[in-house]
């Protein structure tokens, strides 16, 4: 049979002119599915010899008796405590875009001591704007989000909570690229009449994908 028979061409042309039915869509992503942990940096109760801390007197990092990580925040200076890792099957660093989520299980206890007119009171805002951050080897911030951001009520959690930070949120203000080699916090200096008195207790740090 001749492919280019005039009749065939006519049929093809007719088909081409027929209204095309609508297309629905093929699902390629749905974030409503639970993310799958791919890289666990730290988990309370499991060996943590691969971790090292970079801290200072205003943001001491230490392990608690039950194996969590505690960051004790005092004073009013800027702080940048880092949790780094080496070994234990973890890559020294990885590309920011390799994972869809940072998952941190933690709580932030404490208050600020605020002195006004000679009187000091304990205060705690709903959102403390205390940011968890991803850092590169040089200690530069690649991504940052308030602990309150992923909570439904936008409050900094004071009880242990699983916080899932999508990279879309975490990296909104960052360069959007780079190699992650530390997780930590980066809190600006506060006013002179305010003294911080907080304790961040971390049970788990992991990275996950959809």
């Amino acid at each position: 049979m001749r492919l280019f028979h005039p009749l065939n061409i006519l049929i093809l042309l007719s088909l081409a002119c027929l209204p095309r039915p609508s297309q629905a869509f093929e699902v390629i992503k749905d974030i409503n599915k639970e993310p799958v942990e791919k890289l666990v940096i730290f988990e309370k109760g499991k060996p943590a010899d691969h971790l090292s801390f970079v801290d200072d007197a205003n943001s001491k990092l230490a392990f608690t008796e039950d194996g969590a990580i505690e960051c004790r925040i005092v004073g009013n200076a800027a702080i940048k405590p880092l949790i780094k890792w080496k070994g234990n099957g973890l890559p020294d660093s990885f590309k920011l875009k390799e994972y869809d989520y940072l998952i941190v299980t933690c709580r932030m206890e404490g208050t600020s001591k605020v002195t006004n007119g000679g009187k000091t009171s304990d205060q705690r805002a709903a959102n403390l704007w205390f940011p968890v951050c991803l850092f590169n080897e040089a200690g530069e911030v690649l991504g940052s989000a308030s602990l309150a951001d992923p909570t439904p009520d936008k409050r900094t959690p004071d009880t242990t909570t699983v916080l899932k930070f999508p990279m879309a949120q975490l990296c909104f203000w960052g360069p959007g690229q780079g190699d992650v080699s530390a997780v930590g916090f980066n809190w600006s200096k506060t006013h002179d009449n305010i003294t911080r008195d907080f304790r961040v207790v971390i049970d788990k740090i992991a990275f996950a994908n959809d």
């Binding site: 039915p21 609508s22 869509f25 951001d149 879309a168 949120q169």
Partner: protein, 750 residues
């Protein structure tokens, strides 16, 4: 008379040497910079031949700035006749009697705009009304305390923008109206000092601010007539000068003439819609200052600024972008869209019905008042500005009779709803140019010094052409966005192309596209209203996908190599849009469904991404295009997405970074790599079990929508060019529902 007459100089010196323990320390400016700034203020003003004069009826009379004695008498007579006025009066009277000046407030007022706005603009002028109504000696003393406090401050804005910022404008207005209210009770010497101080600040504001002689390099409010920053300064200048214009020994002629020119300029370029391209939040923030400027000028000089239609119409943007179900707003631009905080800047919109005698408008605005003006315990609050702007003689009609849809021609935007009750479904659509039409007319009529289109301030505008926002019962379905700290098209419900949004996106404060006419980037094409509230609105935004900025690939931070020589900055480039057409047509069928039709043609294969930003998204049946949106309050609305091309579907995070808080929500994304695509999105907020089919045959597509009790066939014919409306006709049982024709051209501007 010379400004530096020896007697006045002595007065100035006395003022400066008043003992004070609270005078503020300047913030962000050195003593040398202060000196250098003040040296820019000339010692005298030019002499003018024929300056504007106070009307005979007000010359020598006080009060006259915010009100006259006659107006107060009218108000006094009305108060007992109207419960709103009565409550507003009682609340003001009670608060004023309890007033006690915090001496530390001075430092805040002169070093920080926010307390100046909240207090000098928002609270203290109320004492003028309180005193005018009650003549309470305690209130008079409170006013004198404030005036004394301000006399002790050398600068009323001791900041980088020395004595020319928004704060000083509020402080000037406050002092002027308080001085005006107690004028006849003041000791002559004290009165003279206050008057001289007002003139000093009027001159500093004018020369350092309006004349741009101040040292601060960023001249962000002087470049166009519409930023609220400029309106505040106009009001500060007007109040100060009109309060002292007839004081013996003070030469105000030149400044009065300049004030008149400034008010002429502001009102000349004020849109007839009275709208604000920055959104309804900023409209509320700025409107009162322009209105009060106009009122003060008319009251004292006999001008007719209040006849500008913008003052009659401004209320509409407030009402049509408000959601009674939650009290939130659903505005574009830099609006955080929180529950509407009814406060002292809200009653000024009542000037609309006061001027037009429109009872329905009055009812709509009072509905916002009743619902929004609440204390934490639920009690109604009565802002003092109700006394100034609420006119009970207008009467109150039925707010539910207000037209449920409105086109804002200057903005290129529209708002539509099925009713005015709490359960209303509301849809907004926008495809106007950055800045709106009137501002762009200014930009092209009044060229910059370089002969190119004038710089205009668009800092609070979003790259939002052909975007929709939608709500049900006060909850957002398609989120209108926040006060974005980085303005991106990909957070809005419109499209992106190859991951990019509309030109000039990405900045915390949007900048105008240099040299080009932004009215050509995006605009409304079609507008048609029909029976039963049906409506079709259409926008074209094909040219909005051009690019201006650093060459692609060099936008991010440069690689840090300490050894490398610093790279010279790459010059910005402009590239034409990657789209030939982006036509969005929205069919509003209240009570039945909403249909959003997109016709997109690119310059070649591109990844076109349809985006719908929603609180929570779900795929229900992808093979039929069925999806579901769930609001924060748990309301569910079904959506169906079809295309003439094989599209993909994704639900991804969408992070809205807002100045007053962030929101992490979700986004439907329907990408396809192609050079042309049509999308049809059907929404079922009224739960009519709607489904649709889409058949495309080149330049015409057919969309059939079936629902409970109806089957509609829409014939959708592509527009012949980028200016002409598409031809779209809907039929039910053979009868036309509504049809958009090539003649149904949407207005663009006034």
């Amino acid at each position: 008379m010379k400004i530096l007459h020896p007697l006045l100089s002595l007065t100035c010196l006395l003022t400066l040497t008043v003992p004070s323990t609270i005078a503020a320390t300047p913030v962000g400016i050195t003593p040398e910079q202060i000196k250098e700034n003040l040296a820019k203020v000339p010692p005298t003003d030019p002499v003018v031949a024929n300056p504007p004069k106070l009307l005979d009826s007000v010359a020598g009379q006080h009060p006259r700035v915010l009100f006259t004695a006659k107006e107060i008498e009218t108000l006094k007579a009305r108060i007992p006749t109207d419960p709103i006025l009565q409550s507003a009066y009682e609340e003001l009277s009670t608060r004023s009697k309890k007033f006690k000046l915090n001496p530390e407030i001075a430092k805040q007022l002169v070093t920080n705009d926010t307390p100046a706005l909240a207090t000098a603009n928002g609270v203290y002028p109320s004492l003028a009304y309180a005193y005018a109504l009650d003549r309470d000696p305690a209130v008079k003393q409170s006013i004198i305390d404030i005036l004394t406090m301000m006399l002790n401050e050398e600068h009323w804005a001791a900041t980088a923008e020395l004595d020319a910022n928004m704060g000083v404008a509020c402080n000037m207005m406050m002092v002027a109206v308080l001085y005006d209210a107690v004028y006849h009770d003041l000791e002559p010497e004290f009165r003279e000092r206050v008057a001289q101080k007002l003139l000093t600040h009027a001159r500093r504001l004018f020369y350092l601010g309006h004349k741009q002689l101040g040292l601060m390099p960023i001249k962000y409010w002087q470049q166009d007539p519409q930023p609220n920053h400029r309106w505040y300064r106009a009001r500060g200048l007007a109040a100060s000068l009109l309060a002292i214009a007839d004081e013996k020994g003070l030469e105000t002629g030149y400044l009065m003439e300049e004030l008149k020119k400034e008010t002429d300029f502001l009102t000349k370029w004020y849109p007839a819609d009275g709208d604000c391209h920055e959104g309804s939040g900023y409209q509320a923030f700025g409107f009162r200052s322009l209105l009060e400027t106009a009122q003060m000028m008319d009251r004292n000089l006999g001008t007719k600024y209040l006849e500008h239609p913008g003052f009659k119409n401004a209320w509409k943007q407030q009402v049509y972008y408000w959601l009674p179900g939650s009290g939130r707003t659903i505005s574009f631009g830099d609006a955080q869209n929180p529950p509407y905080p009814y406060m002292y800047d809200s009653p000024p919109f009542l000037i609309g019905p006061s001027l037009t005698r429109d009872k329905t408008a009055q009812a709509a605005l009072l509905n916002m008042f009743w619902q929004g003006s609440k204390a934490k315990d639920g009690k109604t609050l009565y802002p003092w500005t109700l006394l100034a702007f609420y006119d009970p003689t207008v009467g109150t009609g039925d707010y539910k009779a207000l037209d449920p849809s409105h086109l804002f021609a200057d903005l290129g935007a529209a708002s539509m709803r099925d009713n005015w009750d709490d359960d209303a479904v509301v849809l907004t659509f926008k495809s106007g140019p950055y800045g709106g039409y009137r501002l762009n007319e200014y930009r092209h009529e009044v060229l910059g010094a370089d002969g190119k289109p004038h710089y205009v301030n668009l800092a609070h505008d979003d790259p939002d052409a052909n975007s929709i926002a939608m709500s049900i019962a006060g909850d957002f379905l398609f989120h209108p966005g926040l006060y974005s700290t980085r303005k991106m098209t990909d957070t809005l419900s419109t499209i992106t192309v190859d991951g990019r949004g509309q030109v000039m996106e990405g900045d915390p404060y949007t900048q105008p596209l240099p040299e080009r006419d932004m009215r050509e980037l995006s605009y409304l094409t079609g507008w048609k209203t029909g029976d039963k509230g049906r409506l079709i609105i259409e926008g074209e935004a094909g040219k909005a996908y051009s690019y201006y900025g650093r060459p692609p690939g060099t936008e991010g931070p440069a690689a840090k190599d300490p050894a490398a020589a610093p790279e010279p900055p790459k010059p910005n480039i402009f590239t034409d849009s990657v789209l030939k057409k982006f036509r969005r047509t929205t069919l509003w069928m209240p009570g039945e469904y909403v249909l959003v039709l997109d016709d997109i043609v690119a310059d070649g294969p591109r990844e076109i991404m349809w985006r719908g930003t929603v609180p929570k998204a779900a795929f229900i049946n992808p093979t039929e295009g069925k999806c579901r949106i769930t609001t924060q309050g748990g309301k569910e609305v079904d959506m169906q997405m079809l295309s003439n091309k094989p599209i993909q579907g994704a639900i991804d995070h969408c992070f809205l970074a807002g100045r007053w808080g962030n929101e992490l929500i979700q986004q439907f994304q329907f990408p396809v790599k192609t050079d042309a695509v049509k999308y049809a999105c059907l929404l079922d907020p009224w739960k009519k079990n709607t489904t649709m089919t889409l058949k495309d045959s080149g330049d015409t597509a057919t969309v059939v929508v079936k629902g409970d009790g109806f089957e509609d066939t829409w014939t959708w014919k592509q527009s012949k060019d980028n200016a002409t409306p598409s031809m779209i006709e809907g039929k039910r049982k053979g009868a036309t529902l509504i049809a958009l024709t090539e003649k149904d051209i949407a207005p663009q501007g006034e």
